[in-house]
Symmetry: D3
Subunit: 235 residues, 6 copies
């Protein structure tokens, strides 16, 4: 299941059955005083492993670095450029294709717009060059479908109730009790040199009301929804 743990022979054998390969792309990014910098790594890896079990796929090793905008100057955010991220995604996918892989899912924990565009652009190049099936999404996109239900109309977002709940369900040891109510006062469409000044809590929403139960619910929802999408589009 995890490519990292297979031998060369086992991998070769596995590829013969034409499996979906899920590549988790994470990030090291400030997520408030309560969540670890690897929040966006933990989520897609966990989802990828569950989904791979459900659909009979393989999980490639995590790319733990991504591109960041609003949080780029917060302590602990370790970012790479749009160009580097795209090149990395293209190279990994090309190498998988050369290995005989024909179904690839790029699953990003981080959902920043430039980050996602870099991955999308990489996937478009692969889809154009090779006869393979490609999907690209953030598990956050699916998780966000549950925001209304869980947050009861209150705003939620980066490091908020949903994300905190999900990490509580996956790595409770890494979640702190200090959880401010967070807001972003970003001026729409303004490109700041110091966007962190408009985002003092590093998070949006009411992380205080997060719970392990809510997190499990979201994670289950995401894993099942994602499995369905993969089976429907790549079956």
């Amino acid at each position: 299941m995890r490519i990292a743990e297979l031998t060369s022979d086992e991998f070769a054998e596995s590829v013969r059955s034409d499996p979906v390969v899920i590549i988790p792309f994470g990030a090291i990014e400030a997520h408030g005083p309560h969540l670890p910098l690897s929040t966006d790594c933990i989520q897609p890896v966990a989802m990828a492993e569950i989904v791979a079990d459900l659909v009979g796929g393989l999980v490639a090793p995590l790319v733990p670095y991504g591109q960041h905008s609003s949080t780029k100057k917060m302590p602990g955010t370790i970012g790479i450029s749009m160009e580097t991220l795209k090149a990395l995604a293209v190279d990994i996918m090309e190498s998988l294709v050369a290995n005989g892989v024909k179904k690839i899912v790029v699953l990003s924990g981080h959902a920043g717009s430039i980050h996602i565009a870099a991955l999308k652009s990489a996937c478009e190049e692969i889809a154009e060059m090779y006869d393979v099936k490609v999907m690209m999404l953030s598990d956050y996109f699916i998780a966000d479908e549950m925001t209304a239900e869980l947050c009861g109309g209150r705003k939620d977002g980066h490091g908020g109730l949903v994300e905190t709940s999900r990490i509580m369900a996956l790595r409770p040891d890494l979640v702190k009790e200090v959880r401010p109510v967070g807001t972003s006062t970003e001026a729409r469409y303004v490109i700041d040199r110091h966007p962190e000044t408009r985002f003092p809590q590093q998070c949006v929403g009411h992380a205080k009301d997060a719970s392990q139960e809510a997190g499990e619910k979201v994670n289950t929802y995401v894993a099942e929804k994602l499995s369905d999408l993969i089976l429907k589009n790549m079956g």
Copy 2:
């Protein structure tokens, strides 16, 4: 007002008053059987000219080519890569900055996610390197705020009621009567080699119900809203 029409001396004189410079980025893209390929050029140029009057700014020459995904293989879409678009935006802004310009608005008619990310990434680099104020948006983002009111709950989008109305208000001579009800059957998160097959009418919504009056209303709304945003953030 239009940089293109100024002499070198007039431009130098104008820059002394520290004006906002709006750079319209357009696209040549299939927009259904009823709209011209330059739909995404006509809108930002018109908005830029009205807004420049309102805020006392300058309009730079239009970049008429952009990056495309879902429409990239439809006849008449003439696209450039994410990398080229970003390089172009960076170069133009750097040259404006070297000319003494300190307030730049990148206004894109096209709103594709990779296209917008390329422009955003360019703007972030400029904001990081130079002590200037930068905004970046698509006029489509503002126009879309009126979709609910104008479309009465029906779905609208690319080449739809809102966009058709706007072009009817600006270039009625270029709008055809053949206006199919359009939908996109794109599978979410799938990166297709032939996305055009999932988007047969090249447009989304009820362009048949478009009107010049609606278009004028939207255009006025966009121009005023954009002027307000600029004055607030760059005044």
Copy 3:
């Protein structure tokens, strides 16, 4: 005739007849106190439109930015790099080729040597990769064939008698009366950091003696000569 004004269907229909597509490349560049910054845009667009009529071709949207050397630091010159210009030309041509276009003319208003080399290099790559016919030139090269006749032995050049006359014929509203006799004292082969100091009037020649009649004559000559060249080489 103008691709910008066609719908997707009209463009597809037009391409079926195997037309020449002319791509005008302009520039925003200081041209003395009397000419607009878009002087090198106005000329190739006008020529392209006339020639397209004469040869039954299409005109692609103008690229209004180019690469500059001697004028790069004059107010109002907005330049892009050699690399960006080449990438842009390659991308546009590749997209046209993907659209089925088989005959491309790159027509540049600006005639700087690096600018022209970037376009030439782009065209060479296209001619190598695809089975298409490509031409590349500046309309200035053809116009210059009339310099001797019109200037009576006096030196002429950038923003001079010929160019001023041509703009008087095309956009008389944009030509000012202040027209210094201009010279460039550039030291041959020296690469200056501040070439503008050697070119104080921003123009070469006797623009004072320009006339609309001379401009019409040149423009007619250029359009006919260019049409002949296209018909001979791409017919």
Copy 4:
């Protein structure tokens, strides 16, 4: 200790004490029928964590993909280009430097010559641009100092006795019993399109004689030697 598990505040606090940050670079590469594809990930991560404890440093998240030559076409090797690897290393280090980090150790599990050169070149650029201390090595370089002692004069190398022992000490669950005596018949200085044909066992040496004890000995040696080097050069 692991950056991934810190919050933004904890990371900021930690950086204030001017710690060494170790970035493990791994690889997904065929290592014979007995070792997992992530062999070159497991080793540097384990070493980095022990060493970080010993020297009071931080461990950045693993980059699990590297550049490959002789094994590039073996099943399961997932490689990236020299250029991408260098860009990635530069970006990560620049982001760490922007975070206030002043001591960086790039620790690579994989020791291919192009791979190491890419990392070295990245480190040279960082050392040139910023006032920081940088080290770059493969833990394999240090481990290899014990080869003579452990292998008793027999040749050892990729996936051989030393490496197998080390993985037995770290992840015994991932080591298989099938362990061929391996040799590479690579023709010196020949650049093959299919180097895998000259390296049929994917490993060099007598992995059969590997042992957990030997592995622990090597790992301890590497960790202590590396700690000493870091304390001496970056203390």
Copy 5:
């Protein structure tokens, strides 16, 4: 005089006197049946060495490869891209500047328009980044000033009377007796995939009438003129 023959100490000593450094850029290019492929190397190296003596300068090692268009597919032309040539020129000049050199002359034997533009663009970047004096030219530009006198009104060019004479004066052993009258039937402004078909003799003019005496005359003229230019602009 030749940097290649100096020790590090001698070079350091020499740079203290603020010398001009001439970098010869050559080419390996078909030059008709009578001239060697290194024709464009022999000329600038010879000129550089004479000029360096006259002005008290240094000669850097020859770059023997350049960019080619019309001859690119003739046997023996070994070309590099515009981008590679520019990068090479930038790197060499940056390294000279880091060595304390403040006066650089890029002297190209080859005079193709893209080749020259690449070198010019490189020089412009150096002049922008560093406080140094830079000149860039082809010795062919100066030699060509003598064409009218030597060729008596007949057309001359690549591999023609002037160039053949110059090589006869410098490397008579490499000049063959077979010397066709050459013409290029290149269609102006057409970008061909096979330009060599329009240039069957690989040369332009009456090489048959070349002579060692004429070559010496041209070479002396070029060397003196170039020395004057350097002394005037970089003295």
Copy 6:
């Protein structure tokens, strides 16, 4: 034998016999107070010419610039980047392949690890793209096989006994009498901004004991060994 001295016709004729083409890559690099900056040019050119005679091959023109690390800031080292060097090697090889060459030997005088990796990476790309045989090495690798015999157990290296002897055999006029015993105190694995401070003599070993005879012996050994390797692998 030397491509530079052939005409286009002679080259074409020669390529018909499917010869090996050797491309010497040199460097301009500080080599102590006794050796010329072109030490790494003189050696591979001499070897290439002898070997080409022995195997019936061709010698391409020397690339005299390379990439440098430890000596990069010593006076007279003129370096280019890893990227530029690789691009140059790829371009030259691609052009040779387009000329019909099917056997290429990249022979580098300089043996720095990044330099060699750049050349190796270039060769790997060529071997992947084209059906050609490629070898890549430094003549230094072969010469070093004689170090033990010649140096009697004493350390030798850059600018040392072996290298000095080889230049004494090839260009005795360029070797000085001042020959310090040299050592490098480089801290293993440390990436310094000023590596030259750890390498004060610019050379390693006992150059004082160098001799023309030893040099001839090494050069003969290298030439014969290299010829054998070529005949065996490319015959």
